[in-house]
């Protein structure tokens, strides 16, 4: 009988580790066994770090034996392959970084290491985090553990699938337009994108710097609170990172939602969305009312413009950020007769189709004669979207919406139609433009057994409100986690 310690939550495993009922070595072994069994059908990982993880577990056990170890000591985590990890290849799911081994750790990796976390591997993603399905990976798509013919969501699809399938107890993702929340929703796990600037981006390969944010995937709201507390806080190496003190998010979990004012934006329940998604989120709202919260309809009038604004701002920033991949200092080089030709052929062969599409659109939006009409216009509409939320939060403490208009779609379904793919992010993208915290958590299942996610959105730095409401919903027991098909 296998011990299946990999099925524990972080809070459960942490308590058992500190009570010395289990060891980090056993827990890590169970995760690695699960990875070996599930990976041929899931492909959630690009690199599995078996040797390194075993060594980290050994060190963690020594620390646990000495007593007073931090909550994450000995906990096996998956890391999206966009974080610089010293000595372990970091590909961004791109051919251009296929053999890149960072000589340094990202700040959040450093913090997790300091706490004694175990890294079981680097998870799959859409190349440079550009996508909503993890199909744009140079190493092949990740499959949804609830239905292998469906996508895991993206761009952090590998992390979401790995946690849902119990290949690790938690994982890190990044979210620029929904890349944590959408895959969390599709895979039936918890995923939070904190307030912009809450967590350091140092060592996270940049896609769109004014939108990118770091966050965890977990099996429970409590686990998300535990990881976020370790990740958040000032970092001198990221000048945008906030110096605000980091609260103990776990403390907010026990609070009731009595008196909480929940706003429900009418623009987020639109024609064409899957009826079961709307029904499930509406039922969750009823649960909140029965727990003592009030719900009120609100309006976010510029919602319909968010995707257009995003694809100007994000691609413009991406075109600048990705100019560094030129084949000179690191990454792929394709030799040519002169330097310009070397850049052009290296980038042509190193980048995939979606990355090229976004670099091209962004370069165009920034180019002479088009800057005002496109990039500047996008930034101005971004202001209108921010103002919408500011006004809405005068009437409510929390906004609750669906995460995506549908449950997980079929692999290949949207690959030939970029605009349709972009529209999957319609309910998540405004949150990035406004810099707000947003969490996706399971609230139900559709008739096919696919998870449905609801999104909790709070004002800047009000993550505690999200944890308070998320914890209350989880405790209500209205959405029981289901085992995955794999």
């Amino acid at each position: 009988m296998p011990s299946e310690l990999n099925k524990l939550t972080i809070a459960e495993a942490s308590a058992k580790l500190r009570a010395r009922e289990i060891t980090a070595a056993q827990l890590t072994r169970d995760c690695l066994d699960r990875i070996a069994a599930a990976e041929p059908s899931l492909h959630a990982f690009i690199t599995v770090c078996e040797k390194e993880a075993a060594e980290q577990a050994r060190v963690a056990d020594a620390r646990l034996a000495a007593g007073n170890a931090p909550a994450l000591c000995g906990i096996p985590l998956g890391i999206k392959d966009i974080y610089a990890t010293k000595g372990v290849r970091t590909t961004c799911a791109s051919k251009i970084l296929q053999n890149f081994i960072p000589p340094f750790d990202a700040t959040v990796i450093e913090r997790l290491r300091a706490d004694g976390a175990v890294f079981v591997g680097k998870t799959n993603l859409d190349e440079f985090a550009m996508g909503s399905s993890t199909e744009n990976s140079a190493f092949g798509a990740t499959h949804n553990p609830h239905d292998l013919e469906r996508v895991a969501g993206g761009s952090s699809g590998g992390s979401a699938a790995a946690v849902a399938a119990h290949e690790c107890l938690g994982a890190l993702g990044t979210d620029t337009g929904g890349s944590i929340r959408e895959p969390a929703s599709f895979c039936g796990v918890v995923g939070i994108k904190p307030t912009y600037s809450r967590v350091s981006r140092y060592g996270v390969v940049a896609y769109a710097s004014s939108l990118d944010q770091v966050g965890p995937f977990t099996k429970s709201v409590r686990d998300a609170a535990i990881i976020l507390r370790t990740l958040a806080g000032k970092d001198v190496r990221d000048s945008t990172c906030s110096a605000r003190p980091v609260p103990n998010y776990e403390r907010a979990l026990g609070d009731t939602v009595k008196g909480l004012r929940i706003g429900v934006p009418r623009e987020y329940f639109v024609e064409g969305m899957q009826p079961e998604v709307e029904k499930s989120v509406r039922e969750a709202l009823k649960t909140y009312e029965s727990l003592g919260a009030s719900t009120t309809e609100i309006s976010l009038p510029h919602t319909g413009y968010a995707i257009a604004a995003y694809y100007l701002v994000a691609t413009a920033e991406a075109s600048a950020n990705l100019s560094r991949y030129d084949g000179i200092r690191y990454g792929l080089r394709v030799n040519a007769e002169d330097n310009i030709a070397l850049y052009e052929t290296t980038r042509a062969q190193g980048f995939g189709a979606e990355v090229k599409r976004r670099i091209m659109l962004g370069t165009f939006a920034l180019s002479a004669g088009y800057y005002d009409a496109y990039y500047l216009k996008g930034m101005k509409v971004r202001t209108l979207i921010r103002n919408d939320f500011e006004r809405a939060f005068e009437k409510c403490d929390l906004i609750v919406t669906p995460v995506a208009p549908t449950t997980a779609f079929r692999i290949g379904e949207k690959m030939n139609d970029p605009l349709t793919m972009y529209l999957s992010d319609i309910f998540t993208i405004s949150v990035n433009l406004a810099g707000l915290p947003g969490m996706s958590m399971p609230c139900g299942y559709d008739a096919a057994g696919l998870p449905i996610g609801m999104q909790l959105i709070a004002p800047p730095f009000a993550e505690e409100t999200i944890f308070r409401a998320g914890g209350a919903f989880e405790r209500s027991g209205s959405c029981k986690p289901r085992t995955t098909a794999v």
Partner: protein
């Protein structure tokens, strides 16, 4: 092919700016995709933004200052460890000047 918002010449110009070599098929595909996106983003023109200030960043950190102190150590070997081509302590590139 239907009229699009962007010409093949513009696609080639932007590719040159972005240092991307494109095949003729790439050029056609990108013209179609970019055309579709540009048509879609045209909906932003429904909004009057004459008096709206652009949002360039949403953080609260502003532009923090710090003392100009060296905090890292020389690590030339680590920095060169991923170089596609190197010689002694240098990155090596094709000859630029004839």
């Amino acid at each position: 092919m239907a009229e699009t918002k962007i010409t093949l010449e513009q696609v080639r110009h932007v590719a040159r700016l972005a240092r991307l070599e494109l095949s003729p098929q790439d050029e056609e595909r990108l013209r179609a995709d970019m055309g579709e996106m540009l048509e879609y983003v045209d909906k932003l023109n429904e909004l009057d933004t004459k008096d709206v200030a652009p949002t360039t960043q949403v953080g609260e950190a502003g532009m923090p200052m710090r003392d100009d102190e060296v905090t890292n150590r020389p690590a030339a070997d680590a920095m060169l460890s991923n170089a596609p081509s190197r010689e002694r302590g240098y990155f090596k590139v094709p000859k630029i000047i004839e």
